[in-house]
Amino acid sequence: MTVPSQSSSHVEPAPGVVIGKLPARKPSNGRGMHRKSSITISTLSIVVGIALWQIIGQFLVGNSLFLATPWQTLSGIRDMWTSGGLREDLLVSGEEFIFGFLIGSAAGIAVGAVIAKNRVSKRILTPYISGFYATPIIALAPILILWFGLGIWSKVVVVISLVIFPQIINTEAGIRTTEETLRDVARSYGGSTIEVFRKVELWWSLPYILAGLRLGVGRALIGVVVGELFGARAGLGFAINNAQSEFNMPELFAGVAIFAVSGIVFTYLLTVLERVLAPWAANRP
C-alpha cells in the first residue's frame, strides 16, 4: 500500500512581493530526473540475468532436461509459433487475464468503496474478505473449474477471485484513511456526501487503488497459469502443462518466460499509468 506524501522542497515569496514569473525550477513530479537512469539500470539487470542463465544452463547444468538456456527457450517460442499453437494460446490466456483482471479490479474497487462508506455492509462482508484473502484461493481452482467448465470463464473466475480481495482491502484502506480535514473542506463549501466521495475520498484513494492494480497483475497471471493447469482446452498454462508431460523443456521455459515478460510489461504499463493519473503523489513503493 502507498501513502501519499507531501514533503518536498520549498519556495517562499518575499514579503509583500507579487511574484509574476515561475522560478527556473519547473513543477516536476520529483521523480522525473532519475527515470532515465533507472530504466538503464533495469535493462542492464535483465541483460546480466539472462547472460547468467545462459552460462549456468550451458556450462554448469549442461542438460536441457533440467534447465533450458535462454537460447533454447527462444527457439522453443519459435517452434510454438510456427506450429500455430502459440497464437491461439496467447489469445485464450490473454482473454482470461484481461477479463479476470478488469472485472476483479472493478468489482474490488466497488466493494471496497461500499464497505468503506457503509458500516453495516462492512460488518457483514469483513469476515468473508479477510477469510478469502488469507486462504490460498488457488486451492479452490479445481472446484471452480468443475463448476464453470473447461472454457475461459472458469479461469476468468479464478483470476477474479485472486484479484478482487487485495483491491477491496486497498480501496477500503484508501477511503478510510482520507484526511478528515479534507472532507471538512469540501463540506464547509457545501459539498454533498457524493461530492465528498468524488472530489476527496476517491482521489485520496487513487494511489492505494493503483497499488492494488499492481498487486493484481501478478496475482492475475498466477491465476491464469494455475487455472489452466487444473483444466483447460487451450492457453499458455495449458501449453506449459503439455510441454512438461512431454519433457519438452524449451517449450516449458518458453511458456514461463512469456508469463514473466507479461508481468514486467503490465507492471511497467501501470507505473506509466500512475505517472499520468497521480503525478502529485510522491514516494511510491
Binding site: Q6, G16, I19, L182, S188, L206
Partner: protein
C-alpha cells in the same frame, strides 16, 4: 457585507461541556480575533459559526439569516494543511467555487487576480507538496476569498509557520483584507498576532469555554509591523495576558 452574531451557544461532546453560553458579535467588515488557551473550544466555536457543527443550544446569525448547515456566506480557512494534494494551486483555489456551483469560466479572471493578490501569481500549476507552509496558507486564503464570502473564518492559519513567515503572513493578510474587505473571525493563541490584526480581541476562558474579556484595539490602520515594538502595543498585550493568566488560574492548568 454582513456581520456575525453568536447568541448563547452551548456545546458538549459526550459528558464534556466545551462551550458555555457564548455570545458575541462581529460587525460587518470588522476584524475580530479570539485568543484562548488550547483546548478551550476555539475551533469548535468557529465550526459552529460555519455550520460544520451544530450547537446544543443557542443560535448563529450571519446578517439576519439563521445558520443551519454549512453557511454560504462563510469561508473557512483551516488550521491544518487543508489543500488537496492532487490539485494544482489553481485547481485548489477554485474548489470552493466548484462546490458552490459558481460558474468557473466567468470567474476565471477574478480567480487569477486573487492568486496575484495573495502573492501566488506564476505558481498556478504547482502542486501543494512543492510549496512552503506559508504559500500553502496563501492558497487556502485564495480558495476562501474565491467564493466571495461575507465572513472569513480563520482557525490559527499561521500556527504552523515559523516566526518570520508568520509575521510576513500577518502583514500580507492585512494588506489583502484592506483590498477584499470582509468580516473576519480569526483564532489564534498568540497574543501579539491577535492584537496586531484585530479591531477587537475576545479572550476565551476554558472548561467550559466562555468569553472572559472583549477588548477594543485602538491602533489606527494601516499598521506597520513596527507597531509591535511600541510601548502601547506591549501594554495592551500585557493586559490581555493578565486576563488569560487569571482565567487559567481560575480554571487550572494550561
Amino acid at each position: 457585507m454582513r456581520g456575525v452574531s453568536v447568541q448563547s451557544i452551548t456545546k458538549s461532546f459526550g459528558d464534556g461541556l466545551v462551550l458555555r453560553d457564548i455570545s458575541f458579535t462581529a460587525g460587518a467588515g470588522e476584524f475580530v480575533t479570539i485568543v484562548g488557551p488550547s483546548g478551550c473550544g476555539k475551533t469548535t466555536l468557529l465550526r459552529i459559526i460555519d455550520g460544520l457543527e451544530e450547537g446544543d443550544s443557542g443560535e448563529v446569525r450571519i446578517g439576519d439569516r439563521l445558520v443551519s448547515g454549512p453557511a454560504r456566506e462563510c469561508a473557512f480557512v483551516f488550521q491544518a494543511d487543508s489543500l488537496m494534494p492532487w490539485r494544482t494551486v489553481f485547481d485548489n483555489a477554485k474548489l470552493g467555487m466548484e462546490l458552490r456551483k459558481m460558474d468557473i469560466q466567468t470567474h476565471k479572471d477574478r480567480l487569477k487576480e486573487l492568486l496575484q493578490l495573495v502573492g501566488l501569481g506564476g505558481f498556478e500549476k504547482y502542486y501543494p507538496r512543492q510549496l512552503s507552509g506559508g504559500m500553502r496558507q496563501r492558497v487556502n486564503l485564495a480558495r476562501a476569498l474565491a467564493v466571495d464570502p461575507d465572513v472569513l473564518l480563520m482557525d490559527e492559519p499561521f500556527a504552523a509557520l515559523d516566526a518570520q513567515t508568520r509575521e510576513i503572513m500577518q502583514t500580507e493578510l492585512l494588506r489583502i483584507w484592506s483590498d477584499q474587505r470582509k468580516t473576519v473571525v480569526f483564532i489564534t493563541h498568540q497574543l501579539d498576532e491577535a492584537v496586531y490584526l484585530a479591531d477587537r480581541v475576545l479572550v476565551m476562558g476554558r472548561k467550559p469555554g466562555v468569553i472572559a474579556d472583549d477588548i477594543t484595539v485602538p491602533f489606527s490602520r494601516p499598521r506597520e509591523l513596527s507597531l509591535k515594538r511600541t510601548g502601547e502595543f506591549g501594554q495592551l498585550v500585557e493586559r490581555i495576558w493578565g486576563t488569560i493568566e487569571g482565567v487559567i488560574r481560575e480554571t487550572g492548568g494550561i
